[in-house]
């Protein structure tokens, strides 16, 4: 196993940031930690990258214990923190060179590994890192985290604050890296990115809700789900919440996602109810669940 966590807990003062978390990541796997801000993702990353000491439990990364063998881990992992953490006053090339040097390697030695990513920012290699766009900064940070050919790559919210096109490119790059036998642990608050992982762990309030492949997680969604729309979305959500047969109703893009309490629910009944409440352009259709629906459902059950 590339990463093993056993009953890891960590508190700040009395707030439990990570609460009894265990999971394993297989070699070469692209594993996603999916959860909102404050779920405990960054704390988990910092424990695994030997930056923080857990209160309870134990963990290994690439076969090394995070406490006793922290020096070995620091030699063999790549880490990209959530905040852009390169030297803004150094150019693209100088940054890359610096990280290659401190890991005792050169750009030339591992160029094939970063080539796909680096060629996109190479035209700007003499530009200061602080002057790059968000997407380019992430590509540079990824290049720097990869330059020493790590066994395990930790990416803490790499796509936060990055435009949709760059986000898509970034995930394509991760998929290609996976082919090169690098285990990747990535966290993201974006549910749509979850489906691109091999396996995901849904995490909230320091606890893991579920771990599985994205497909299996979606398939495990126990209820029927409907997308609902009307002319007045705000009134719609208020009316849905007082509808007797509502299990949950929350915004999802331009629709609301609605799950009924009863098995015998018929869309016609809801349409009729909404018409009585002066809604216009009503649309109620059955749809397939997404990771987000599962997440909402699980965190609701968890409360």
């Amino acid at each position: 196993m590339s990463i093993i966590l056993n009953n890891i807990s960590k508190s700040y003062n009395k707030v439990k940031a990570v609460d009894d978390i265990s999971f394993e990541v297989k070699p070469g796997e692209l594993f996603g930690l999916i959860g909102p801000d404050g779920a405990g993702k960054t704390t988990l990353f910092r424990i695994l990258t030997t930056l923080l000491i857990q209160d309870k439990g134990n963990a290994t990364v690439a076969g090394y214990d995070v406490l006793k063998q922290y020096k070995d881990i620091r030699n063999h992992v790549g880490y990209m923190p959530g905040r852009f953490s390169l030297y803004q006053d150094l150019t693209v090339e100088e940054n890359l060179n610096f990280f290659a040097t401190i890991f005792g390697t050169t750009i030339a030695e591992n160029y094939d590994l970063i080539k796909d990513i680096y060629v996109q920012i190479e035209p700007f290699k003499d530009r200061r890192a602080g002057k790059l766009s968000g997407g380019m900064k992430q590509k540079l940070a990824l290049s720097c985290a990869l330059i020493h050919k790590p066994k395990v790559l930790f990416l803490d919210e790499p796509t936060t604050g990055v435009d949709p096109v760059s986000r898509k490119e970034f995930w394509e790059m991760l998929k290609r890296l996976q082919q090169k036998d690098i285990t990747i642990l990535v966290s993201t608050p974006y549910m749509d990115e979850a489906e691109l992982c091999d396996r995901i762990a849904l995490i909230t309030n320091g606890k893991i809700l579920q771990i599985n492949t994205p497909g299996a997680i979606i398939a495990s969604f126990p209820k029927k789900i409907f997308k609902v729309r009307s002319f007045n979305t705000y009134k719609l959500i208020e009316d849905l919440r007082i509808y007797p047969d509502t299990h949950s109703a929350y915004p999802f893009g331009e629709y609301l996602h609605f799950t009924p309490k009863s098995e015998a629910f018929r869309p016609m009944d809801l349409t009729k109810y909404l018409e009585e409440r002066q809604h216009k352009e009503i649309e109620v259709k059955e749809t397939v669940a997404t990771i987000e629906d599962t997440f909402m459902d699980l965190s609701k059950a968890n409360e």
């Binding site: 990258t49 923080l52 000491i53 953490s85 030297y87 150094l90 610096f98 990280f99 040097t101």
Partner: protein, 368 residues
């Protein structure tokens, strides 16, 4: 080793690309030395004085000539009555008035003594004191010349000799002090800021998750500043030799070695500060309040330690700058060798080892 060189190269990029810190590094030493050397000084030059000559004879003329040709005074007016003295001072330009009595020459010949009154504007007591001393010595000089031809058996010549600083040149006192302040400031503040900067920008997080060990990071941070501080020390010494004509009596090599020791001492203090401070601002404030003030006030640079109350005298012992000032004053002004300053040197070495040990112990290998 490559890793280490790479790290130092990166540090130089940081320093050379940050105009503000470059200015602090190289602009400030020059500005400070010039300020202390030229502006803030106890010595007098071209002080405006006025003459009230009641006798207007050959001796008073000779004395006035002597005073006028000295570079310390320039005669800016003759007045003819005592009543004019006060209005003259009130105008503020004139700092002293020389009042020769009536029949000056006659008295000198017949009674063997003549009087001249020196009036000084004592709103600035230090300057007034200096002025009257200077005029006094010019008069003394003249008296000696007069006596040369005569063989008077009893001649009392009060003679004061200022050891090490015969002209009471204040710049000689200030240069060691300024050098100490600058080396302390540049070394301690700049290193503590540069280390906390990494914490603040989050790059420390990446450096921690790398094979670099704490020792390499700290030494890598410090080496560029050692080099820059040595350059600074050289600039200050050159300035004092060539601009202020200050002689360095002792060995230049010893001076260099002691300065390097003090630089390393200050750097280790800077590292210690950075292990405690979380932000650049905190590091700067700690350096300024915790180091600068004691260096200026308690090191003996401005206020003599011997005239401090006992508790402050005791506190001054833990300030490295105190010992360094003793050392470099000894080397630069008295020309003493290591045999005379070995005790102070040992104290500095001991303090340095203590600070480095404490810093390495306090340096965090993790985030908390």
């Amino acid at each position: 080793m490559n890793r280490f060189i790479g790290f130092i190269k990166k540090e130089f990029y940081h320093i050379l690309r940050d105009r503000r810190s470059l200015f602090i590094l190289f602009g400030m030493p020059i500005v400070q030395v010039m300020l202390f050397g030229f502006a803030i000084t106890n010595e007098i030059n071209n002080v405006d004085i006025a003459i009230l000559d009641h006798s207007k004879d050959v001796n008073t003329k000779e004395i006035i000539n002597k005073i006028a040709t000295s570079k310390y005074f320039s005669i800016k007016g003759f007045i003819s009555h005592e009543d004019e003295i006060e209005p003259t001072f009130r105008k503020g330009k004139i700092k002293a008035v020389l009042n020769f009595e009536k029949n000056f020459s006659k008295n000198l010949v017949t009674q063997k003594k003549a009087t001249v009154q020196i009036l000084t504007d004592a709103t600035d007591p230090n300057t007034a004191n200096t002025i009257s001393n200077y005029i006094g010595s010019i008069l003394q000089n003249y008296q000696q010349e007069l006596n040369q031809g005569l063989k008077l058996p009893y001649q009392i010549i009060p003679k004061t000799r200022m050891v090490f600083n015969p002209e009471l040149k204040s710049v000689y006192m200030f240069v060691p002090g300024v050098m100490t302040i600058i080396l302390m400031l540049v070394s301690a503040m700049m290193t503590s800021i540069s280390i906390t900067k990494e914490k603040e920008l989050g790059t420390m997080e990446i450096l921690l998750v790398s094979p670099l060990n704490p020792f390499q990071v700290i030494v890598g941070k410090v080496v560029p500043y050692i080099l820059l501080s040595i350059i600074n020390a050289v600039v200050i010494i050159l300035l004092s030799i060539f601009v202020f004509k200050m002689p360095v009596q002792g060995s230049l090599f010893l001076l260099g070695a002691e300065s390097t020791l003090f630089i390393i001492n200050a750097l280790s203090l800077g590292i210690l500060i950075s292990t405690v401070a979380a932000t650049q601002q905190a590091a700067m404030m700690t350096s300024l309040m915790g180091l600068m003030l004691p260096v200026i006030l308690l090191s003996g640079f401005i206020f003599p330690i011997s005239s401090m109350p006992l508790p402050l005298q005791m506190i001054s012992n833990i300030i490295p700058a105190k010992w360094f000032i003793i050392i470099i004053k000894g080397i630069m002004l008295k020309g003493v060798g290591l045999a005379y300053v070995w005790k102070e040197t040992l104290i500095l070495i001991g303090m340095t080892i203590f600070f480095i040990g404490l810093s390495v112990k306090k340096y965090k290998i993790r985030l908390e």
